[in-house]
Amino acid sequence: MKKLIALGLTYAVIQILIMTNLISDYLQATLVTICINIILAVSLNLITGFTGQFSLGHAGFMSIGAYVCAFITLRNPTIFGFLIGVFAGALAAALMGFLVGLPTLRLRGDYLAIATLGMSEIIRIIFINLEITNGAAGLNGIPQFVNWTWLFIFMTATILGISNFIKSSHGRACISIREDEIAAEAMGINTIKYKVVAFVIGSFCAGIAGALYASYFYYIKPDLFGFLKSVDILVIVVLGGLGSISGSILAAILLALISTYLQSFPEIRMILYAAALIAIMIFRPQGLMGSRELSLELFGKLGDSLKSKKGRV
C-alpha cells in the first residue's frame, strides 16, 4: 500500500511540474534520459548483476528496439502505431537476446564480454550498411509520442517486473548461476535455460528503452548505440551496485545530473567518468549499494538506530 502511494505521488508531482511549465524543455530531456537509462540499467543489472553474465552489448539490443519502433511509427504515426512499435521493438530485441544468449552460454566472464561486444558491433555495422535504416545518416523525423506518462508507465513496469522476478524462484535460479554455476546445476537448476531467460528479459527491456528513445529524441543513428553507450550503461550498473535495483536507479539519476552539469565539456566528462570507473573498482567495487536494496525498512532501521543513540548518553 505504501508503495502505491509513493508511486502515485512521484507521478503526480512531476506531471504537475511539467504541466505548469516549471520544468524546462532542457530539464525534460534530462528527465527522459534518466528514465530511459533506468530501464537500461535495471535490465542490464538482471543480466550482469544478478545472473553474473557479463554483457558489453546492451546498446545493441537498445538499437534494435529503436529502429524497429522508428520504422513502425514512421509509417503509422498514431498512438496505436507507437504502442505497436514499442512492443515490436522489444520483441525484436528479445529475439536478438535469445540468439545472442544461446551460443554464448558456455563462455566464461571475459570471453562472454567480448562476444557480446562483437555481436553489438556486428549489429551496428549492419545498421550502418543497410539502406532501409538509411545507413550512417540515421532516421530523422520520428513521431514524438513519448511523454512523462508513457515514460512513467514503462519505467515502473520494468522496475516492478524485474524486481518481482528476482524475488521469485525463477529469479533465485538466476542468482544461483552467479553464485556457483556448477553447484546450481547439481541442485537441479537448468542453468542454460535461465541464462537465456535473463538475456531475453534484459534485452526485451532494452528494446523498450530504445523505442522510447527514438520516440522522444526523434532522430537515431547507428553510432549512438555503439560500445560507448554500452559502457555508459555498465558504469551506471556498477556505480549503483551489481545486484541492486535501487542502486541502478540512484546511479542513473546521479550520473545523468553529473552529465548534464558537464555537458559543455564532453572530454572532461569522459575523463572524469573513466577516472571514476577506475577509482570505484579499486576502492569500492560494490558500488553505492552493493547488492542490497534501498527500502522503506532501511529508513525505519536508520530511525531506530538514531533513537537508540539518543537514549544512550
Binding site: 571475459d110 570471453y111 567480448i114 555495422i125 572530454e267 569522459m270 575523463i271 577516472a275 577506475i278 573498482m281
Partner: protein, 294 residues
C-alpha cells in the same frame, strides 16, 4: 593473379601490425587473465610519441621508433602498477571494467590535450619512399621495413621468452602464480616486465602505422585493438605463436574481404570470426581446453 598477390602483400603488412599488438594482449592475458582494453591506447600513444619525435624533435625513423617503444614500456608498467595491481585478487568483472576505464581515460585524456583532429606523420625521405616492382605488384620499402621490423621484434620476443631467466619466470607465472611465487620468483616484477614488453611492441606498431598509413587520431586504437585481440583469441589466447599466426590470419582476411567482398562489411566479418571461434573452439587454434576441477 597479380591482383591477388598484391592483396597478399598488403595482407602480410596489415597482419604484421595485428601480430605485434596481438602479442601484447596474449602475454598479458596469459599471465594475469586480463583482457587489457588499454593496450590499444598504448599503441595510440606510441603513434603520437613517434609523431612528436619526428615533427618537433626532427628525429629520424629509427630513433623515433625506439623512443616510442621506450615511452610505451614505461606507460604499460605504470598502468599495471596503478590500476591493475590493486585488483590482483578482485573478480574478473572488476578488472575488466577497470581496463575499460583506463582505455577511456587514455583516449579522452589524449583528446583533451591534442584535440580530436587527425594528425599527419611527416613525409618520409630516402629509402622509405622507394618501392620494388615485380610485374604489376608493387611492394614498397615501407612495407618491407615494416614487416622486417615486426619479424625482428617477434624473434627477439621468442628469444626472451624461451632463452632468458625472466622469460622462464613469465612462463611459470602464467601457469601457476602461487607456485611460481613459492619457487622464489618475484611475481610482481615478472608481471610488470610482461606488461612492459607487450607495451613496447604496441608502441612499435603505433609508429609503424603512423609511417605507413600516415594519419593518427586519439581514437585510432579502438578498432585495430579489437581486431588484434580477436587475432590473439583466434590463435589461442595466452599462446605467443598463436598471436603471431592470428595476427596474419586476421590481416589476410580483412584485406581479402575488402578487396574481393564488400569493404563495408570487413569489420563485421572479423567480429563474426570471433563469435565463431568462441562458439566452436574458445581456446583458439593452438589452445588446449582446460576444465575447472570440481
Amino acid at each position: 593473379m597479380e591482383g591477388f598477390l598484391q592483396q597478399v602483400v598488403n595482407g602480410i603488412t596489415l597482419g604484421s601490425i595485428y601480430a605485434l599488438m596481438a602479442l601484447g594482449y596474449t602475454m598479458v592475458y596469459g599471465i594475469i587473465r586480463l583482457i587489457n582494453f588499454a593496450h590499444a591506447d598504448v599503441y595510440m600513444i606510441g603513434a603520437y610519441v613517434g609523431y612528436f619525435c619526428m615533427t618537433f624533435l626532427n628525429l629520424g625513423f629509427l630513433p623515433s621508433l625506439v623512443i616510442a617503444m621506450f615511452v610505451c614500456t614505461v606507460l604499460g608498467i605504470l598502468i599495471e602498477k596503478i590500476a591493475y595491481r590493486p585488483l590482483r585478487n578482485a573478480t574478473r568483472i572488476s578488472v575488466l571494467i577497470t581496463a575499460i576505464g583506463v582505455s577511456l581515460f587514455l583516449q579522452y585524456g589524449m583528446m583533451f590535450f591534442v584535440s580530436a583532429n587527425v594528425r599527419t606523420y611527416p613525409e618520409m625521405t630516402g629509402i622509405m619512399t622507394k618501392s620494388i616492382n615485380m610485374g604489376n605488384i608493387v611492394i614498397s620499402m615501407q612495407q618491407i621495413i615494416l614487416v622486417s621490423i615486426t619479424i625482428i621484434l617477434m624473434i627477439l620476443l621468442q628469444f626472451i621468452v624461451k632463452k632468458t631467466k625472466i622469460g622462464k619466470a613469465m612462463r611459470a607465472v602464467s601457469m601457476d602464480k602461487d607456485a611460481a611465487e613459492l619457487m622464489g620468483i618475484n611475481v610482481d616484477s615478472t608481471i610488470s616486465f610482461t606488461f612492459g614488453l607487450g607495451s613496447a611492441l604496441a608502441g612499435a606498431a603505433g609508429v609503424l602505422v603512423g609511417v605507413y598509413y600516415n594519419t593518427i587520431n586519439p581514437l585510432m586504437g579502438t578498432v585495430p585493438g579489437l581486431k588484434a585481440f580477436i587475432a590473439a583469441v583466434f590463435g589461442g589466447i595466452g599462446i605467443i605463436p598463436g598471436a603471431m599466426i592470428g595476427g596474419y590470419f586476421i590481416g589476410a582476411v580483412e584485406v581479402l574481404v575488402a578487396g574481393y567482398g564488400n569493404s563495408m562489411y570487413r569489420d563485421a566479418v572479423v567480429f563474426a570470426i570471433l563469435i565463431l571461434i568462441l562458439i566452436v573452439k574458445p581456446s583458439g587454434l593452438l589452445g588446449k581446453n582446460t576444465r575447472e576441477k570440481v
